[in-house]
């Protein structure tokens, strides 16, 4: 073997599609999921290019124009309690709302996965210590923990993001721990250890590729919850501060207007609902696209 002639490597004629390629192909065929994705992409683009497409300044309004109904000349979706253009505020509001909804889950995905994978792969006392700590945070209902933390930390975008991240780390860490623990006893992990690889290499090459998928799907299902919670914090006055446009905060300030312009007042909530249901449908589609056993 040592002096086996080393030929020029043969280029395989058959390159099978990888797992994620197959998942992607199945997901693209899912009409509901694709519709949801289209809505999300559209809203994201609108938020990114808000300065270009919003018809008016979201912060400037004239009190004389306050609470105009939907379909008013020049204000397609009416005006709010300070006479600001609703359409422009809704487009701009997507920036903060999407940012506040998605960021905590992304951060929690990174930290929660890391914590869960370490606990799951290490096992033993490390696992017990980490997971019992996680259990403590898991023992709070998510809304309560978010309100408690941001209530104690004080209002503000940064504190709201921090609180929500802390809320979502425990559930993600739990999922990460359980999939990693299940994977750890697989023969191919044993085989990798038997070939002399260190823990770090095994996690990088063999664990991540197998556990990140399921953790990711779970995390995407949390984005809808996060959207509702994040806007909920602003609704309570714990998140974004006025006059910045954010759907939850807009909903709160317009509450007083439900007897005057009820449907204008309900608009920001409809936006939150639309985003949240789209994320749920996309997440469901991704889950069923991944469930097919390879």
């Amino acid at each position: 073997m040592a002096d086996a002639t080393l030929n020029v490597p043969i280029v395989p004629a058959v390159r099978s599609a990888g797992y994620w390629q197959n998942v992607g192909a199945r997901l693209v065929r899912d009409k509901t999921a694709m519709a949801a994705a289209a809505v999300l992409i559209l809203l994201t683009l609108a938020a990114i290019f808000a300065p270009l497409i919003a018809p008016m300044d979201p912060l400037e309004g004239r009190l004389i124009n306050r609470l105009r109904p939907i379909g008013t000349e020049g204000h397609l979706l009416g005006t709010d309690e300070l006479g600001r253009d609703m359409l422009s505020r809704l487009i701009w509001g997507g920036r903060l709302s999407l940012l506040m909804g998605v960021t905590p889950v992304v951060l929690a995905f990174i930290f929660g996965s890391a914590i869960g994978i370490i606990a799951g792969y290490a096992g033993g006392w490390t696992n017990t210590l980490i997971m019992r700590t996680v259990d403590v945070f898991y023992a709070f209902p998510s809304v309560l923990l978010a309100v408690a933390l941001s209530g104690a930390l004080g209002a503000g975008l940064g504190n709201a993001l921090l609180s929500l991240t802390v809320v979502f780390i425990p559930p993600i860490a739990r999922v990460a721990e359980s999939v990693t623990t299940r994977l750890r006893s697989s023969d191919f992990i044993e085989a990798a250890r038997a070939s002399g690889a260190g823990a770090f290499t095994i996690v990088r090459v063999h664990v991540l590729g197998n556990v990140l998928g399921p953790i990711f799907v779970y995390a995407t299902s949390l984005i809808a919850v996060s959207m509702i919670l994040a806007s909920g914090l602003s609704f309570l006055g714990l998140g974004v501060r006025p006059p910045n446009p954010e759907w939850g905060l807009m909903l709160n300030t317009l509450r007083t207007a439900i007897y005057v312009q009820p449907w204008v007042a309900a608009l920001p909530g409809a936006m939150i609902f639309m985003v949240s249901i789209s994320f749920n449908l996309l997440s469901d589609g991704l889950r069923s696209a991944m469930e097919v056993r390879q």
Partner: protein, 316 residues
């Protein structure tokens, strides 16, 4: 069963301890000197120091924690800064209102959720299933505080059928069982029931579809059991899990009622939290959260034990 319950109870103790550590820490992660929130704005330095010693803020954190925990175990959660009344009194009054609302909402959610779930699971992949599944997705996706607003717009602002806010006539702060108070409960309870409805519908749908696909059900049909008999079989097998989900959901509603209570000005723990946050009434915030979290943990414990008693397959 007994062994499992005992193990589960013992396992809960460190979680409760951890929960109390987090609640204790809430006061200390809030910016600024914890004393500031208690002091009148024009307090002299001398008074400050006296209070610091009195409240034990001059001691080390572990010492403070043990003192605090000791008092909490005796039912003393401190004094509300805003009202000057004991936190325990405030919380207990609010808890009963929230518990009443959350229980009614859970029952509504359970009944609707089971109905939708059964329909969807029984007629899997039919248009009925699609409709029921859509209702479930709606339930878990809708921002409930917004749904509450929409219901108020329709049934209070537009139609004028139901009151928009409060627990009863004349700003009643204590819910009672009479027709007048019941009218006040309808909108918040329906709003609140939407989340457990969605989750229970999803769970029941999956359960029913799974049970129906099992061979013993095919066997039952083959042996000529009536459709009603098969249905009863499905109910018997799905019930433990569905009930467990319901129990957990009640816990979530208890802790997550703040947004809905704010929309409807319902005088429960959510309103209490809301006012505690805005008046920076940290003892009240801390006490309310501690009580709600304890409720949640103990409820989960009971659900687990009950489920293991109901479901013979769980031998843990």
């Amino acid at each position: 069963m007994l062994g499992y319950s005992l193990r589960r109870i013992i396992y809960t103790a460190p979680v409760l301890l951890g929960v109390s550590v987090v609640c204790f820490a809430l006061v200390h992660i809030s910016p600024g000197d914890p004393l500031i929130s208690i002091l009148p704005a024009d307090a002299s330095v001398e008074l400050q120091e006296r209070l610091r010693v009195l409240y034990g803020f001059d001691r080390s954190l572990p010492e403070q924690f043990i003192l605090w925990l000791g008092r909490a175990l005796q039912g003393d959660l401190g004094t509300s800064i805003a009202t000057g009344r004991p936190v325990t009194t405030e919380v207990m009054r609010a808890v009963s209102n929230t518990l009443m609302l959350a229980s009614v909402a859970t029952v509504i959610g359970f009944v609707l959720g089971c109905f939708f779930g059964f329909v969807a699971g029984y007629f899997s992949n039919s248009p009925l299933d699609k409709a029921a599944s859509a209702a479930a997705v709606f339930g878990v996706s809708v921002p409930h505080y917004w749904l509450g607003m929409v219901l108020v717009i329709i049934f209070s602002a537009q139609l004028g059928w139901l009151p928009a806010a409060g627990a009863g006539p004349g700003g009643s702060s204590q819910w009672r069982f009479d027709m007048e108070h019941l009218r006040y409960m309808i909108l918040p309870a329906i709003t609140m029931s939407v989340i457990p409805m969605g989750i229970i519908a999803r769970t029941v749908r999956a359960l029913v579809a799974e049970i129906l696909a099992q061979e013993f059900v095919i066997g039952l049909r083959a042996r000529g059991l009536s459709e009603f008999g098969v249905f009863m079989h499905v109910v018997k097998n799905a019930a433990p899990t569905a009930l467990a989900v319901m129990g957990v959901q009640l816990g979530y509603l208890l802790g997550g009622s703040i947004l809905i209570e704010t929309v409807f000005s319902w005088p429960g723990t959510g309103m209490l939290l809301n006012s505690a946050i805005f008046q920076r009434d940290l003892p009240l915030l801390q006490g309310t959260i501690l009580v709600l979290a304890m409720f949640f943990v103990v409820l989960n414990l009971l659900v687990d034990i009950l489920q293991s008693a109901l479901d013979p397959r769980i031998k843990r």
